[in-house]
Structure formats: C-alpha cells, structure tokens
C-alpha cells in the first residue's frame, strides 16, 4: 500500500495524471517515440563506410569489428561505437587487413596492446573458466537445494495432520 502511494506521488511529481490519458496526450508523444526510434538507428550508422577492395576483405572486416570491444565503452563493439578511439582501432584493423595480415595476427596485435579487455567475447582459459562454470555450478546447487526442500516439505505434509491435532492444542491451550 505504501508502495502504491509513493508511486502515485511520483507520478504527480512528474506532472502526470494517474488517470487514463486522453488520446490527445498519446498524440503528443508521437514525435518523442519517432525520435527515440530514429535514435536507436544511429549505432547502425556508426560503422564507417569501409572501402575494402574486395568483398572477402570487406566480410572479414565486418566480422572483426564485431569481435572487439570499443576500449572506452564497456558494452559496445567497435562496430557499434561512435567513439573516436573506436574509429581509430577500426582504421588500424583496415590497415592491417590491407597489409595482408591474418585475423589471428590482428587479434594478437590488439590483445598485445589493449589486453583481453578488447575481446568482446573473452577467451576460454583456466583463469576465467569460472565465468563459464559458475552459472552451471549455481544452477546445480539450486536444483539440489530445491529438491531437498521439496522432499522435506512433502514429508512434513504427511505428518502435519497429527501435529495439528496434538501439538497445537497442547501448546496454545
């Protein structure tokens, strides 16, 4: 109940009516919605028009820029980022592709400069195996605990009739 009151206070504070909005109010939001939708299209344009001499290089380039993280943004690939640094790393990848470097050479190069942080998908190694294994372990633990609780509760229900008859009246009475 307190939560409800707080939230309606918040709506009032925002100048929004808690009642149903008239159709006109929705119409007023249309420009905002359209703007947001267009905004979400911006990352798609972040990839600079790469001018690779042939489709094979172009395809490798597009794959590579999706495999690396923008150094200054935690959750964006080089392909998605508008950051200047991301653009410079993309250009470095283009240069290396044109110089005939293999994908592995480019990957090693970037890791030797920016550490494994640059890999959008971390490499599987003994050091970060827990990243992959922890969810499985937690799930297994959860299943074990859940099973035991369910079994215990099932056993409890069997005995409950007797307990209510004897124990309850004895202690309360």
């Amino acid at each position: 109940m307190r939560g409800l009151r707080a939230s309606s206070a918040r709506t009032r504070a925002l100048g929004l009516e808690a009642r149903r909005w008239p159709a006109r109010a929705w119409a007023a939001f249309t420009p905002l919605v359209v703007t947001l939708l267009l905004w979400s299209a911006a990352p798609a344009l972040a990839v600079d028009p790469a001018q690779m001499p042939n489709p094979q290089l172009e395809a490798r380039y597009v794959t590579l820029i999706h495999e690396f993280r923008c150094p200054v943004c935690q959750n964006e690939t080089l392909a998605d980022s508008n950051e200047d640094v991301a653009g410079e790393v993309r250009r470095q990848i283009r240069t290396m592709l044109l110089a005939g470097k293999s994908d592995d050479q480019i990957r090693d190069y970037l890791v030797s400069r920016y550490s494994e942080f640059i890999l959008f998908k971390p490499e599987y190694s003994l050091r970060n195996a827990w990243l992959w294994l922890l969810p499985v372990v937690l799930l297994a633990l959860g299943i074990i605990v859940a099973l035991r609780i369910i079994r215990a509760r099932a056993a409890l229900v069997d005995q409950d009739d007797q307990i209510v008859d004897t124990g309850e009246s004895a202690t309360r009475g």
């Binding site: 150094p71 200054v72 935690q74 200047d84 640094v85 410079e88 790393v89 250009r91 470095q92 890791v111 030797s112 400069r113 920016y114 550490s115 942080f117 640059i118 633990l141 605990v145 035991r148 609780i149 079994r151 215990a152 509760r153 056993a155 409890l156 005995q159 409950d160 007797q162 307990i163 209510v164 004897t166 124990g167 309850e168 004895a170 202690t171 309360r172």
Partner: protein, 224 residues
C-alpha cells in the same frame, strides 16, 4: 509436539530443544532437508552448512568484485615490461622533421600523450612543468588527434614542459601503444622497454611514487 520435527531453517536451536519455543515450526514453508530427523537423532549439519557455504561463496565473489571496482574502465597495459612499439612521428614545431624510438634509444624518457581537447591534460600541465623543471628525464609529448595551431597556442599559454612534441593526427601511434584516452604517460627505459604507464593526469604524487621509484638513483635525484 514431540513428534514435530525441527525443520525451520532459520531456527538456530538444536533439534530437541524446548518444543514450546517452536510452535510455529510446523507451519513453516522453509523446511530443511533433514525434515525426517527425529528429535533424538544427532543434529544435521546440512542445514547450517549449505547457507554458510553459500554465504561464503557470495562473500568471496563480492569481495573480489569490490576489490576490482576501482579498476572499472581501466585497461592495464599488456605492454609493461615489453618493448615499446616502434614509433616515428613529425614534430609539432616542424612537420618536415621526425622523432621516434630510434632517436631515443639508450636513454630513459617519459612519453606523455595529450591533446588540447582533453580537460585532464590542462589539469596535469602544472605537474608536468614542475617535473620538467626538476628532472633530467626528457618528457616527449605526443599531441594526439589534434590541431597543430591549437596545440602551439596551448603550449604558448600554459607553458611547455616537453623536450619535444610530436604530432599523431590520425591516432596511429596512440593505437599502437594501446592508448585509449588522454592523458596517458609512459616511462620507457634505455633498453626500450615500457616500465610504467600512468592512466589519467600526472600529479607530483604519482611522479614520486610511480616514476621516480623506478628510475636509477642518479636520475631520480636520490642521494644513495
């Protein structure tokens, strides 16, 4: 009541304790695994062990996370202890002349990546000027992704701590050195190895703690 079992996970009392204190236990929905244990049997450790182990696991994970929370956004350079990538860049003063690793072989130098677009670079300028004044180590400036005229103007206004300033207009050298922001300051030894990298503004304190401590005594100005 005695047939009731102590199944309440949150009840610290051992099984077999005063039953009247546990009248609510049979309505409990959080029955433990050892629900079948009679009050006479030995208290099971599971009902304590599982929460304790879970707590310890979560505590360790969170402790590691908190310990590294200061590192968020910091990329520790894999170049430390490795040869500095070769570089060769035009001078800010005269774009027809170049400076690079070849010119600096066999000596200690500090390489400071900056730009007039970088706010923290303005903040660290006094510290760099003081270092240039007090230390024999040359500070090589790399003006990154910048306009030459603005850079000259900046140095004229704020003072010039640099032995030499090179320009890296397209960021080629910066990327090669794993730079991802300005300012970043590298310490390179006479063998050409990167000894240290400071991410963020230089301060007198950082200079003393991280740079001077890595320099040989005669260059650090320590009386040994």
């Amino acid at each position: 009541m005695n047939t009731n079992v102590d199944t309440h996970l949150g009840t610290p009392a051992p099984a077999g304790a005063d039953p009247s204190s546990r009248t609510e236990s049979h309505s409990s929905t959080t029955a433990g695994a050892d629900a079948n244990a009679s009050p006479d049997s030995k208290p099971s450790f599971n009902r304590f062990l599982i929460p304790i182990v879970t707590f310890a696991l979560i505590a360790v994970v969170l402790a590691v996370g908190i310990k590294h929370s200061g590192d968020v956004g910091v990329i520790h350079s894999p170049l430390i202890g490795k040869p500095a990538p070769a570089w060769n860049l035009p001078l800010l003063a005269d774009a027809s002349r170049m400076i690079g690793s070849k010119n600096l072989q066999g000596r200690w130098y500090v390489l400071n990546v900056w730009g007039t677009w970088c706010y923290a670079c303005r903040d660290e300028q006094p510290a760099l000027l003081a270092i240039a004044h007090s230390s024999p180590i040359p500070i090589i400036g790399v003006d990154w992704r910048d306009d030459d005229a603005q850079a000259r103007n900046w140095l004229a206004q704020l003072g010039d701590p640099y032995a030499t300033v090179a320009t890296d207009h397209d960021g080629h050298m910066a990327i090669d050195w794993g730079v991802y922001g300005a300012p970043e300051t590298f310490l390179v030894n006479p063998a050409g190895l990167v000894v240290f990298k400071q991410i963020g503004a230089m301060t007198p304190e950082v200079w003393r703690r991280e740079f001077l401590s890595r320099l040989p005594a005669e260059l650090a100005g320590r009386s040994s």
